[in-house]
């Protein structure tokens, strides 16, 4: 009795096709240009500010990486599966002996790989720009490129992967546009969990407090992935922060993919 190919063979094949498709997509390069412009703004800022140029460039650079990675994760997560349905390319794929969950996992892997390429390219551009415009040149910048900086970069990639998983989940039962909007909302709320939590705790209305806490707890806390302040002010990282953040990201991605793989079974093929 034939049971069809295993999870990793299917996911590998789908991821490869998805990754290549994204590399040919203009949106990837658009986001890269946006991030480079943001870095240019940081350079302009070094001319107008009394803050140390290295700190400003690191601060702006990490913000650029974070925002562009998040936008790309939201866009790719929302569109990658829906595009298969809209363009009907999924028809022949699903007539093969594979599960819809396997296919979905492959789409997610392809997106995460593409986010990795974006992250690598932006990291390279950031290092070049920061090195060129730091007062002490590359020597001064490399003095700041320690483990904390590496961790900050790595966690931003994880953040974009988590957002892609959330967007993919929403896209199993809504359009690309709706999924992208809702995930962007998740990004805004998830990036301000501490502030929203403190607002909620100070609120006198129990209903408002309950709603705020529910919203805060229903979205991933993206502050786990944001080390910008700590890195730009050279603050020490709490021990175990990176592994905990990684586990937190894996838990969110896993939960979203499991739920999405159930929902995608009910999605009608075109």
């Amino acid at each position: 009795m034939s049971r069809g190919p295993g999870l990793f063979r299917v996911a590998g094949a789908v991821a490869k096709v998805t990754f290549r498709e994204i590399l040919g997509d203009r949106i990837l390069y658009g986001v890269l240009v946006l991030a480079v412009l943001f870095l240019g703004l940081a350079i302009l800022g070094t001319q107008l500010s009394f803050v140390s140029p290295e700190r400003l460039i690191i601060d702006f650079g990490l913000a650029a990486l974070g925002i562009s990675g998040a936008l790309l994760g939201i866009f790719l997560g929302s569109s990658s599966l829906n595009r298969e349905f809209e363009r009907r390319t999924i028809q022949v794929a699903l007539s093969h002996p594979i599960g819809r969950g396997q296919f979905l996992f492959g789409k997610f892997l392809g997106v995460v790989l593409a986010l990795g390429v974006n992250w690598l390219l932006l990291g390279l551009v950031f290092t070049l720009v920061a090195g060129l415009f730091s007062v002490g040149g590359f020597g001064s910048l490399f003095g700041r490129l320690d483990g904390a900086m590496g961790a900050a970069f790595f966690l931003l990639w994880l953040q974009s992967a988590v957002l892609a998983a959330v967007a993919l989940l929403f896209s199993t039962y809504s359009s690309t546009l709706v999924s992208a909007f809702v995930t962007f909302g998740v990004f805004l709320v998830g990036s301000s969990v501490t502030d929203l939590g403190s607002i909620a705790s100070k609120s006198e209305s129990p209903t408002l407090r309950a709603v705020a806490w529910t919203v805060v707890r229903a979205v991933p806390n993206l502050e786990y992935f944001n080390l910008r302040e700590k890195v730009s002010y050279d603050l020490a990282l709490a021990p175990g922060l990176v592994p905990v953040s990684m586990l937190y990201a894996l838990a969110w991605m896993g939960a979203c993919l499991v739920l999405a793989s159930f929902l995608v079974r009910t999605k009608d093929t075109p």
Binding site: V14, T89, L94, S95
Partner: protein
């Protein structure tokens, strides 16, 4: 002959409009496709052909009824591993090359390594696309895409092929190529189920046929049996350019038509031909030929379709 595909009492409907009213697309469809046959699934546009094909390929779930391939539910992976599918329009990833697409679908059929590479070369040869192996699909013509679609459908050597309008939109040469490819699969002992609204394709390729109209199976059976249900009568050809006077009112005569190459007298089924010929001769007509009229599948389904429309 054992039935490879069995469809029993399948109903399918979709919610439409603001009030989500159900639109019934299939209403109790039942049919059997015997092993090794080429089954032509005929129907007008909107009759429910593609919906049934989506159910057979496991892309959708029926509201009720059952579909089995070799006794196994069609949505199971086991059934899908035995099936090759070519959709009406082959929507493929345009950034891939012909070879890349086959590697992708090969992996989804659990093929890999040397075996996959060998099969890719074989099927590209079969569909005459060897030279397009490394060409991106965005540069393929419609005919090339259709042939590549057929190549991916047979890549994993399935026993059962489902082809949705495989010749739609192709030029005569492209149609001929696809027809030959289907016949080759039949020679290899594969069971082929294909939908079309072109009756001549069915006459050329199929040994069995089913007609669907408004979501219901109207007729199924062997092509020869269906045609023997009806007789087209007999045509008597006379020389000259003038019809015997009053011949069109004679008993058993359906019509009399004067053609540039002679006069055609069409006699109904069961007419006493001997008496008719004697009568014609007595009128001075010179007999040239007496031929049985073979009804075409088009005539057959045309009459069925008209009956259905009236009901």
């Amino acid at each position: 002959m054992a039935a490879r595909l069995e469809i029993k009492e399948v109903h399918q409907s979709f919610a439409t409009g603001f009030w989500l009213r159900p639109a019934h697309i299939l209403r109790g469809v039942s049919l059997e496709v015997p092993e090794g046959s080429v089954y032509g699934f005929l129907g007008a546009n909107g009759a429910g052909k593609t919906t049934l094909i989506h159910l057979i390929t496991g892309l959708r779930k029926p509201k009720s009824g059952s579909l089995t391939l070799d006794g196994v539910e069609v949505r199971s992976r086991e059934a899908r591993s035995r099936l090759g599918y070519l959709p009406e329009r082959p929507y493929f990833h345009e950034h891939l090359t012909g070879e890349g697409l086959l590697q992708y679908f090969g992996a989804l059929s659990n093929l890999s390594g040397k075996k996959l590479e060998t099969r890719i070369t074989e099927v590209l040869d079969q569909v005459n696309l060897r030279d397009a192996r490394r060409v991106r699909l965005r540069n393929f013509s419609k005919g090339m895409l259709q042939r590549l679609g057929l190549a991916q459908a047979v890549l994993h050597e399935p026993d059962f092929l489902v082809l949705d309008e495989p010749m739609s939109g192709l030029d005569p040469l492209g149609r001929k190529e696809i027809r030959e490819l289907i016949l080759r699969q039949a020679e290899l002992g594969k069971t082929v189920f294909f939908s079309t609204h072109v009756i001549s394709d069915v006459e050329t390729l199929c040994d069995r046929v089913g007609l669907i109209s408004k979501g219901q199976m109207v007729r199924t059976g062997k092509v020869a049996e269906l045609l023997s249900e009806r007789s087209g009568g007999t045509e008597v050809w006379l020389e000259g350019s003038a019809a015997p006077s009053g011949a069109d009112t004679w008993t058993g005569v359906d019509s009399v038509r004067v053609n540039p190459d002679g006069v055609r007298v069409l006699a109904r089924e069961g007419t006493d031909l001997g008496a008719l010929v004697s009568e014609l001769r007595s009128q001075g007509a010179k007999l040239r030929a007496v031929l049985p009229v073979r009804p075409s599948l088009e005539d057959y389904f045309g009459s069925i379709g008209r009956k259905e429309d009236r009901s």
